[in-house]
Amino acid sequence: VSRRRASEKRSTEMGNKRAEKKHDKHHKTTRKEGEKDRKRPRRRNADEEEAEEESSKEKKNIKNERTKTVKLEDEKEKDVKKKRKNSESESHSESNSDAESKDNQAVGVLGSLTPEELEQLKEAVDERKKLITTLKGKPWPMKKKLVILRESQEFVEKYEGALGKGKGRKLYAYKVLMMKKWMKFQRDLENFKTACIPWEMKIKEIESHFGSSVASYFIFLRWMYGINMILFGLTFGLVMVPEALMGKPYGSMPRKTVPRVEEASAMNFAVLWDFGGYAKYSVLFYGYYNNQRAIGWLKFRMPLSYFLVGVGTVAYSYMVVIRTMARNANEEGGGDDTSFNFSWKTFTSWDYLIGNPETADNKFASITTSFKEAIVEEQESRKDDNIHLTRFLRVLANFLVLCCLAGSGYLIYFVVRRSQKFALEGLENYGWWERNEVNMVMSLLGMFCPMLFDVISTLENYHPRIALQWQLGRIFALFLGNLYTFIIALMDAIQLKRAEEEIVKKNMTIWQANLYNGTVPDNSTALPITVHPADVPRGPCWETMVGQEFVRLIISDTMTTYITLLIGDFLRAVLVRFLNNCWCWDLEYGFPSYSEFDVSGNVLGLIFNQGMIWMGAFYAPCLPALNLLRLHVSMYLQCWAVMCCNVPQERVFKASGSSNFYMAMLLVILFLSTLPAIYTIVSIPPSFDCGPFSGKNRMFDVIQETLETDFPAWFSKVFSYASNPGLVLSFLLLLVLAIYYLQSTSKTYKRVNMELKKKLQTQNEENKRKNKLAALKAANELEQAKKAGEQCSNSASDLGESTQNVSQLP
């Protein structure tokens, strides 16, 4: 603070000097005025842009502004002083102006100035520049600021290029020009970068209308989109495209051909959402890939690439999530910044550089919302109710929610058991309802139970932010239960398929034997018989089945979301809006009203959707692509829906966009969704006749194979040594120790930070107290001085009267 004060002082002093100098140069400038007039309008634009840039810089360090507001008074004093000095200097310069004008005539042009004058000019220009940068913090009215800005920028324009001498001068001018160009380029680049952030404007608009909690969902959605982009790039670029371009074409092998039985229905319309038929026997699913070690002229290691991409996507996701969490943890930083919350908001909220009326409206709305949020928070923190009743209600609410969860769990269990029964008896005997029962029930429960939780949570009377977290936790439990029930059902299905596979394997040998026995003479050396690949019997390929299930789940989930959106939000909004004119009560305020945006449900939907992607992506490489499509559509659809048919929540509140809560949930889901995937990869042998790992005992054998055949012998030896349990264990131990060490150090740093902050605060308070005391003292002294002065004047007047008396006397 003291440094700052010093700099302010210096700047004011410099300002005075500059004022003098400006007057000196006034005469010289008038001559050039005519020439420059033409250029002025353009320059003014540039000036404004610069001003904008300055203020945007200012905005970035809002924290400085707090100190600035504290320093308001100081600066005012200085301002007054400065004005006085200015007026003095003006009068001074006016008296001198005659002599100077003679000088100027003698000097003629700028180039022939004395070095001292040049030096002074340079200083003045620097001074102006400094003024421009610090202008926004000055406690002046807007008009004065604008006038000063314009003046000083013109001044700088005029003299900047003219400084320097002879050859050096030209170079200097060129340098300045280039600097300006460079600055402009940088600014444009910055603007371009902001424009490149996808959906930024949309999200800002939503934030201004609905508050930060709704915006945080959309920011999260955008972040998710970015991650899925990478996942999609990996699977598409390293798995799907190579296989499509270089792998064996469709129809060359049994696994790449639609079997004879399915051929009739392979092009049905239902393929679009069932992903059977031709879609099933394409690069979209695991089963299509061949176990050939290297494909194409590039010798692309397909199975290895498939395995590594599967592992890599998961590893990448872990890395990103954890890195984001760490970064957010840094931002939170501990300590409370909540003191002086309202004055903060009052003085620093408005952005003075908004020129667009629409944006200004938005900003206005957003500031109003943020004030509402702050007030609600303040109210919440001051309220105190009957604590026993509240506790009882909270326990009751949790009990009800538990009942609800148990009920929904049982229902899904029941449905899954029933569907297994159906599957055993053959699905063909049952109708559409029975076949899609599991998906339907899961979607419906996932849709309706959160509503019930929401209603129950009004019992608890929490602050909306905490209520949101509880709600999130409950829906999380619900979704997790649903998902794991689904996975357990899937595991059962895998066991069934594997049993079927065994039978097929046996039949296969018999079929082959029959083939050869029946048609080929014993002594034949002729060509082997060619059977069309569609006719060859084949195993059930459980991996494709798993992938297909996940794809179907994603699609039904997406459909449910969109249909809910269209019916629950859009249709409702339309009905409310247009029936309101001819209805017997007010639909907009009363019974149905418009819907609110459901942050918790949407966030969890997104997270679980991602979980399914992580789980299924290994068996269906098309999943990231589908998800990308879904997220893209979601972004537009939900942005539109939220602006078009939702109303802001009644209790607007703040949820930090970088909240670690979502991230923690995402991490848990990531972990939980990798578990089953890893389990299937590690413990179940791959199908014998489909997929890149067919014929191997386990899927990860592909690594060993690569090590043995593609690397030199010493490498595999080294690897085998390195994978020695003793070495691995000690390495793990080292890792754990390192983690522990780092964690403890980071904790210490945090504590030290907190203490430093506290220290600063106490110091600040101490200073304030001291200042107050000093001010009090000064006031006292002033009082005394005044009294003394009055006494003096009294005595003086007495004296005057007496002299008058004396004068009247004669």
């Binding site: 609800c404 009920g407 929904s408 229902l411 029941f414 449905v415 029933r418 109708g431 309802w433 029975e434 029962e437 339907m440 029930v441 419906l444 429960l445 309706f448 139970c449 509503m451 019930l452 929401d454 209603v455 129950i456 309101n580 004119n581 017997c584 009560w585 007010d586 639909l587 907009e588 305020y589 009363g590 019974f591």
Partner: protein
């Protein structure tokens, strides 16, 4: 056939709807079902039943007792959409404010929708001497009951004039038939659909002077959105909406609009 499991999955939705809109169900039960049953059982209309109850339970001539009995009947026995004690308090407040601001001039009140006379009695109670209420009711049966109740409360024809005609016929003829020069207070509690046309009629008749107050009940539920929109956008009024809950039923939000006529400039 839809399987029972899918039907069961709709149970949470059903529960949610029931819990969220429980007050509306209570209202439906009390205002419609009970009324229907009682109508069939007794053969009397709801208003007549209310009158019988008041006749047997309240002290004639005691306004407070009549109002209390009415409130009791509406909240405990059956439901009639009256203005209720809470909003009525606001009412009284406005009236006292009016009469204190204008000491000498006789206050003229127009009430649209007398129904059972509950609000008429409430207004009449807090009016100064010399004030006059014109109460408009369309339905003859209701008007008969209202008249009985008003007389029971002890207000005579000089104070309360009951007009049994539709409001849109009455308003243009107020000046000619009843010699009204200026309305100080207009209280609207009739059909919500008629709020806007009646307000426009009032504007056209020139009976509203500067400072005239228009109170409109139930502007949120059942609601009169067009009325509010007009009042806000016309610029003739200073609009305030007092938020409250629906009378005799907790949990349903409602509001009473207070329009102060600013005069035509």
């Amino acid at each position: 056939m839809v399987s029972p499991a899918i039907a069961l999955a709709f149970l949470p939705l059903l529960l949610t709807l029931i819990i969220r809109y429980r007050y509306f169900f209570v209202l439906l039960y009390r205002a419609v079902l009970i009324r229907w049953v009682r109508d069939c059982l007794t053969g009397l209309s709801r208003e007549e039943r209310a009158f019988q109850y008041i006749l047997t339970h309240a002290t004639p001539g005691d306004v407070q007792s009549i109002l209390d009995t009415f409130d009791h009947w509406c909240s405990k026995v059956e439901f009639i959409s009256n203005i209720g004690p809470k909003k009525g308090h606001k009412h009284t407040h406005t009236l006292t404010h009016l009469s204190s601001s204008c000491e000498h001039c006789p206050i003229t009140v127009l009430e649209l929708g007398t129904h059972c006379g509950y609000s008429t009695v409430r207004i009449a109670r807090s009016l100064p001497i010399g004030a006059r209420i014109y109460s408009v009711e369309m339905d003859e049966g209701n008007a008969r009951v209202a008249e009985k109740i008003i007389r029971l409360a002890g207000f005579d024809e000089d104070m309360v004039e009951l007009i049994v005609r539709p409001s849109d016929e009455v308003i243009p003829r107020l000046r000619e038939d009843f010699g009204v020069e200026r309305l100080d207070l207009v209280f609207m509690d009739h059909w919500k659909r008629c709020y806007l046309p009646d307000l426009q009629l009032l504007e056209g008749s020139g009976l509203l002077g500067e400072g005239s107050i228009i109170l409109a009940d139930n502007v949120i539920f059942p609601g009169a959105p067009n009325f509010l929109r007009h009042a806000r956008s016309s610029g003739l009024y200073e609009v305030r909406v007092h938020r409250a809950t629906l009378e005799y039923i907790r949990g349903i939000r409602d509001g009473m609009a207070e329009l102060t006529f600013l005069g035509i400039k």
